[in-house]
């Protein structure tokens, strides 16, 4: 009877999900409700969690609750703490969810809602969640070791160094592209800039509160910080309405670049309790509450999707948001939400040190990534509720918009300057044209969804306030990533240089702190400036580079995972990591190749440089240099990862052909105290 109920339940859920996919795939030329998208996604997640994740946990990894976890063996009440799985799920989710799952789907919406949604849902089930779960399991069995350490010990030392360099390069591009999103959202926006500027003194106050005045009282400090943040948000409206103040807080992209670079440097050299930790708490609270609120609002409003399932840009490859066809660019544009290499750093960081029972790894590693994918689906819904004409006008430059005007007109994606002006007025902005980067269009989508809820509840729509709330929400956690990323990059640089100059490797030696921070900030600052002054809007060149880099890091993680599975004697299950690895290598190498060598100047760096040769334009020389630098970076990423794959394949062949003993560096089995009843 119970078995029959189970078959009916899971069969019913599968059928419901399949029906929702059917509706999404077959309805053309009419508006479709967001509900279908949500049903398709949720049914897929629950079925995948119930069956595929269980298969991974039981058959592939052989999770064993009798085995003591690092949290139990090294319990120190601080870093290593056995933690309830629901609590750790929240903690892990807060660490992996950032701007990526929100911005990537918004940008990929230029292909229509269907390709991005399919990649988000299928990608997470077969690749992203598998990667997170695998690395979490591997680290859990190795005393919480990092990805780099595992690459070094399980593949070889060269692989460890390669992985570390890959992370450092990727970090620089990541920080540049995230900073570009903030710059594009805040330029000529006095309301937005005032609110974000206020977060700095608010964070400093919170830092003093938590460290010096009331040690460890994060809750109190965060409550005060949140109230002050709300006041800053409302105050921003007053600033925008006052001509003198609005002028003081209106700045161009290059000026904002200088400010954000200076901020990144200061945040990296200051003690963490002063700025980084308080900002991190504020952004975590805001992130979790806003994502929950957005989920509820979407479920209440169930807005219709105005973007078609597929746009002409899916096959033409001449999209105004970024150039390139659906394959491979949809798959690198959406990284976080489907698969993100960065998660491997979190899954081999704090999380494995807090897991109480091995079986919890399935819920936290696989389940946490499913939730991130759901955030990506919500971002896709928010972007696709916008009028397509508005979406394209916001997410590109006037030049690229003019180039794509014939296709846009043919597809019926028309927008007039009056409509854009009216929308900007509703959002309390001077203009919303050419706000590339995804954040402003996501903010407009979120504002419209939240405003319909407040209107339905009988209040004012508060659209402008919601828009700036969404901008603050995005900018706040992007800046948190910039703080932590610059600092982690600084540590890595100190460690690398420390091999040849040990004094430089001392993380508390101030000259080294300042020099390493300056190098890291200069690295991402240069790419940021390049993006800000790029006539094509910067996102066109930087986001694909970031996507390629992030997915290549995922390839590194999957190489490590496959090596460990083979050494565990699980060769027959190696396809669980090899299949996503093969897919990632195919998409990233194709995308990298096209970004470098495509003959289309909008797509290929070298073709773009060639098109500028002999140009009399003032900045032509610098643009050519940037194209060549981007070429070098893309080739470097591809070479580094190709090397790692070759080294991994050699290791696999040696192990499988028994030329090398399959020895893993797994920690010895120690039985859990709870299991023995102590």
């Amino acid at each position: 009877m119970r078995r029959l109920a189970s078959i009916l339940l899971w069969g019913g859920l599968s059928a419901l999900g399949a029906a929702a996919f059917g509706v999404l795939a077959t309805r053309r030329g009419e508006t479709i409700g967001a509900a279908w998208l949500l049903i398709a996604a949720v049914c897929t997640y629950v079925v995948a969690y119930r069956f595929y994740a269980k298969f991974l946990a039981a058959r592939v990894f052989g999770l064993d609750d009798r085995r003591a976890t690092p949290a139990e063996r090294f319990n120190n009440g601080r870093d290593y703490v056995p933690t309830n799985r629901w609590v750790l799920y929240g903690h892990h989710f807060a660490a992996i969810a950032g701007a990526g799952p929100l911005v990537g789907p918004v940008l990929a919406a230029q292909f229509g809602f269907l390709p991005g949604t399919l990649w988000l849902v299928i990608g997470v089930v077969l690749a992203g969640a598998v990667q997170d779960f695998t690395i979490l399991f591997c680290s859990l069995r190795r005393n919480g070791k990092s990805l780099g350490q595992m690459a070094k010990e399980e593949i070889n030392p060269a692989a460890g160094v390669t992985a570390m360099l890959a992370v450092l390069f990727i970090m620089i591009i990541l920080l540049a592209v995230l900073a570009l999103i903030v710059v594009n959202a805040l330029k000529a926006s006095p309301w937005g800039l005032f609110t974000i500027a206020c977060t700095i003194p608010i964070a400093l106050l919170m830092g003093w509160w938590m460290k010096a005045w009331r040690p460890g009282r994060v809750g109190e400090a965060s409550a005060v910080g949140a109230l002050l943040l709300l006041a800053a948000l409302i105050g921003g409206g007053y600033v925008a309405g006052n001509a003198g103040l609005a002028r003081a807080f209106s700045h161009s992209g290059p000026a904002l670049t200088g400010m954000i670079v200076a901020y990144g440097f200061v945040a990296s050299v200051l003690p963490v309790w002063m700025l980084l930790c308080p900002r991190d708490y504020l952004s975590t609270f805001l992130k979790i509450s806003t994502i929950l609120a957005l989920a509820v609002a979407i479920l209440v409003v169930l807005p219709p999707l105005r973007m078609p399932a597929l746009t002409p840009f899916a096959t033409l490859g001449e999209g105004p948001v970024f150039a390139g066809k659906l394959f491979p660019f949809a798959f690198i544009t959406i990284a976080c939400g489907a698969i993100s290499g960065f998660h491997a750093l979190v899954a081999s960081g704090t999380t494995p040190k807090m897991i109480a029972r091995e079986a919890d790894a399935r819920f936290i590693g696989y389940g946490g990534m499913l939730m991130e994918s759901f955030v990506g689906v919500m971002a896709m819904v928010a972007a696709c509720t916008l009028d397509p004409g508005v979406y394209f006008a916001m997410n590109t430059t006037p030049v690229a918009l003019a180039q794509a005007s014939a296709v846009l007109h043919q597809a019926g994606f028309v927008v007039t300057p009056d409509i854009m002006q009216q929308l900007a007025g509703q959002m309390g902005e001077q203009t919303l044209v050419a706000r590339a980067g995804g954040a402003p269009s996501l903010a407009v989508g979120m504002a419209q969804i939240f405003a319909s809820v407040t209107a339905a509840l009988g209040g004012k729509t508060l659209t402008a306030l919601w828009y700036h709330f969404a901008i603050m929400f995005e900018a706040l956690f992007i800046l948190t990533t910039i703080d932590t990323g610059t600092r982690v990059g600084r540590f890595m640089l100190q460690e690398i240089v420390g091999h040849v100059w040990p004094k430089f490797g001392e993380t508390s030696w101030y000259p080294s702190v300042v020099a390493a921070s300056a190098v890291i900030v200069a690295g991402w600052g240069y790419f940021l400036y390049q993006g800000v002054v790029d006539p094509l809007g910067g996102i066109n060149s930087l986001w694909p580079l970031f996507g390629i880099a992030n997915q290549l890091l995922a390839a590194v993680a999957l190489c490590v995972g496959t090596t460990i599975l083979l050494k565990m004697g699980k060769a027959r299950y190696a396809w669980v990591t090899l299949a996503p690895l093969a897919w990632l290598v195919a998409i990233t190498m194709t995308a990298g190749w096209q970004k470098v060598f495509s003959a289309d100047p909008r797509l290929g760096f070298l073709a773009h440089a060639a098109s500028l040769a002999g140009s009399a334009a003032l900045n032509a020389g610098r643009l050519i240099f940037n194209d060549r630098l981007n070429t070098l970076v893309a080739l470097l990423f591809m070479t580094v990862v190709a090397l790692l794959i070759v080294v991994s394949i050699r290791e696999w062949w040696l192990v499988l052909s028994k030329r090398k003993p399959a020895v893993t560096k797994e920690a010895p089995f120690i039985e859990r105290a709870y299991a023995t009843g102590d």
Binding site: T83, V87, A95, V218, D280
Partner: protein, 74 residues
């Protein structure tokens, strides 16, 4: 001369005034956001049978320093 915290001097009232469920809820939220929890550290020391090696200020300072080394995803 460094000032001792209320918890170290024994004048801390928070854990006694917050009722059981609310205290547990606070601890859950603290763990989720990655906030320091000196009370949990003291409890851990009591369970393993050694006196606390860190004062609350030292514990908080070390906790924040370790948090600063963590990665936040994009």
């Amino acid at each position: 001369m460094r000032r001792e915290t209320n918890r170290e001097t024994g004048s801390e009232k928070r854990d006694t005034v917050v009722p059981g469920f609310a205290a547990r809820l606070l601890r859950v939220v603290r763990r989720i956001v990655g906030a320091p929890d000196y009370g949990a550290y003291l409890e851990h020391c009591r369970q393993v049978g050694h006196p606390p090696r860190l004062t609350e200020r030292e514990y908080v300072a070390q906790f924040f320093e370790s948090k600063g080394n963590g990665v936040r995803c994009c």
